[in-house]
């Protein structure tokens, strides 16, 4: 090889050395969405079923609307916003289930079908892969849930615009009781604070176990929780640990830290309290535990054999 071609080879060698880790991360997230189509198809199905249910039960809602006295604003709000609340609550419940099942399968699926050999034959690090997987319940799913919830609520508004006047109810009633943009802001805030950041240690624990278990990762993940819960009950007669895990998972346990007032974030009386939320030690302890679980998950992906 001549000196010139040696230099050429060195230049060629140096160029791709700067691997784009953002590119690898982006494509790793895309891969998760291709691989786990059910996480959004499931949400669409629940949303469609809800809209159908609303259409069939519309008479019930119309009767209630007719019965509104027009004096008590609180009553206004509860009646008019009810289907909107149910929609967002239902989608949040779906989000919890999707995040749970996704995380429990995230590092297990590629080991079960041995495609991990293929993924590892490409220049993508284990930490990039694990972080991309963790970003699904932390960022992607809450955003998706938000988009679908907003879409359902727009459909509800459009339906109301047709149905209410046709039944002799003034549309003004709807606008009086509904603060759409304020509600959407709160839903977005609530989704990230209560259903992404707060339960993040639970999702990371599932991710870790999915990278370790030879079968049934969800059961293996639940086992230590059940054992610790049982021991606590035997020794102290209390159930604090189980309550801690449970409330983390459903996004409760610290509602006062997330929002004040109502559990459901759609009420006009609810105020966001981000300062209190971000100052709560529970949040940071949880995130620290989540970080430890993630580090272990990265190591497991590196060392653990396929199933």
């Amino acid at each position: 090889m001549s000196a010139g071609s040696q230099v050429m080879a060195d230049v060629q060698d140096a160029a791709p050395a700067a691997l784009s880790s953002t590119g690898a991360f982006y494509w790793s997230v895309r891969r998760e969405l291709w691989e786990n189509r059910w996480i959004y198809i499931g949400q669409f199905v629940v949303a469609a079923v809800f809209v159908l249910g609303f259409v069939f039960n519309m008479n019930h809602w119309l009767m209630k609307m007719r019965g509104l006295s027009g004096t008590d604003p609180a009553q206004y709000w509860t009646t008019i916003a009810q289907p909107f609340d149910i929609a967002s609550g239902l989608m949040m419940g779906t989000l919890i289930l999707m995040s749970l099942f996704y995380s429990a399968d995230a590092l297990y699926g590629e080991r079960r079908d041995r495609s991990i050999f293929f993924w590892k034959s490409l220049p993508v690090s284990d930490s990039t892969t694990v972080l991309a997987k963790a970003s699904i319940p932390l960022i992607v799913l809450p955003l998706l849930t938000f988009a679908i919830t907003v879409a359902i609520q727009i459909v509800l508004v459009l339906l109301s615009c047709v149905v209410l006047p046709a039944n002799g109810i003034s549309l003004a009633m709807l606008w009086k009781g509904l603060y759409l943009f304020q509600m959407w802001g709160m839903i977005l805030y609530h989704l990230f604070m209560a259903h992404a950041l707060w339960p993040f240690p639970v999702f990371c624990w599932l991710l870790l176990v999915s990278g370790w278990a030879r079968r049934a990762p969800l059961l293996w993940a639940a086992l230590p929780v059940a054992v610790i819960g049982a021991l606590e009950r035997l020794v102290f007669g209390s159930a604090n640990f189980l309550r801690l895990v449970g409330t983390r998972l459903i996004g409760g346990g610290a509602p006062a830290d997330i929002t004040s007032g109502e559990m459901l974030p759609t009420g006009p009386m609810t105020h966001l309290t981000p300062l209190r939320y971000f100052a709560s030690p529970g949040l940071w302890i949880g995130l620290a535990v989540a970080a430890v679980f993630l580090v272990v998950a990265v190591r497991l992906r590196r060392y653990r054999d396929p199933v």
Binding site: A17, R30, K120, P123
Partner: protein, 291 residues
């Protein structure tokens, strides 16, 4: 620079020793066949080279430590571990997108060009493709990556003879350019004999034979001996003897071609025959093998 340099490579799984002090040196631009019986440690050795498992001993691939630098190494190394590892749920188009997105040396146009020669549709999912088509797809992707080392672990397992032939033909014609290195393990040794430039036999985690194909052709000769000359031929100490169509076939190491020609037709043995001879002697027992 050596492409692969292994010294005293060791790996055990529980009480099983998979690699027992393996030494291997592969120059760039070679096509090495790693041949061994089941459980000999071939796949373990390859996995170590690819940074998939930790190991003891010294190992450098393209000057890098595979275990600590897997991510960087995979820019220069491609591998097909087994035809079944492409994820079954993925669409061909998604697969091309993904590899193009994460691999700086992947040429999408080239991959599409290879795929156009097959009946694979980019809208198909991998699970809808036949086993042979999955192998074609994986090969198309790997050949479109400008890598310096390609590792193939039983790439044609379970494929019919047409696909196997095509597989090695395209590898030689469309990919190998004498600067890249290819390491291949396979049980279909006859099919790679004309492809290889170097040969390594591995058994029980150790290298039992290592030579270039030129050496192989010079060193090993096989004679189908006429019955009346059997005793004379045996006196030259063949390394192995087998029966074929009622005749004795004797395999010699470092023998004089002229002298052997006196006993019968002399030819280069197949890798499979040499394998049986070496492994048979190695394990201390002469095995009767029907090839």
């Amino acid at each position: 620079m050596a492409c692969i340099e292994a010294r005293g490579l060791r790996k055990r799984f529980g009480s099983t020793v998979a690699l027992d002090g393996l030494d291997l040196h592969v120059e760039e631009g070679r096509i090495l066949g790693l041949i061994g019986p089941n459980g000999a440690g071939k796949t373990t050795a390859l996995n170590a080279m690819l940074g998939l498992i930790p190991y003891q001993g010294e190992l450098k691939v393209l000057g890098r430590d595979p275990w600590t630098e897997r991510e960087r190494l995979m820019v220069d190394v491609s591998y097909i571990a087994d035809v079944a590892v492409l994820p079954r749920w993925i669409r061909v188009a998604e697969l091309l997108d993904y590899v193009a997105g994460v691999h700086p040396r992947f040429d999408r146009t080239k991959a599409k060009g290879f795929l156009e020669k097959t009946s694979i549709q980019t809208s198909s999912r991998v699970r809808e493709l036949s086993k042979g088509m999955v192998a074609q797809l994986h090969l198309a992707i790997v050949m479109a990556i400008d890598a310096r080392l390609l590792v193939l672990d039983e790439p044609t397992l379970g494929l019919d003879i047409l696909f196997r032939k095509q597989f090695y033909d395209s590898l030689l014609n469309d990919y190998f350019d004498r600067t890249r290195t290819i390491v291949v393990t396979t049980h279909q040794v006859e099919e790679v004999q004309h492809v290889l430039t170097d040969l390594v036999f591995i058994d029980r985690g150790r290298i039992v034979l290592s030579c270039s194909m030129e050496e192989f052709e010079q060193r090993y000769l096989e004679v189908m001996v006429r019955p009346e000359q059997l005793a004379a031929a045996r006196a030259l100490k063949p390394m192995y003897e087998r029966q074929a169509i009622g005749r004795s076939v004797l395999l010699f190491d470092h023998a004089d071609r002229q002298r052997l020609a006196a006993f019968g037709e002399v030819r280069t043995p197949s890798i499979a025959d040499l394998f049986v001879a070496v492994l048979g002697n190695h394990s201390g027992a002469t095995r009767e093998v029907a090839v």
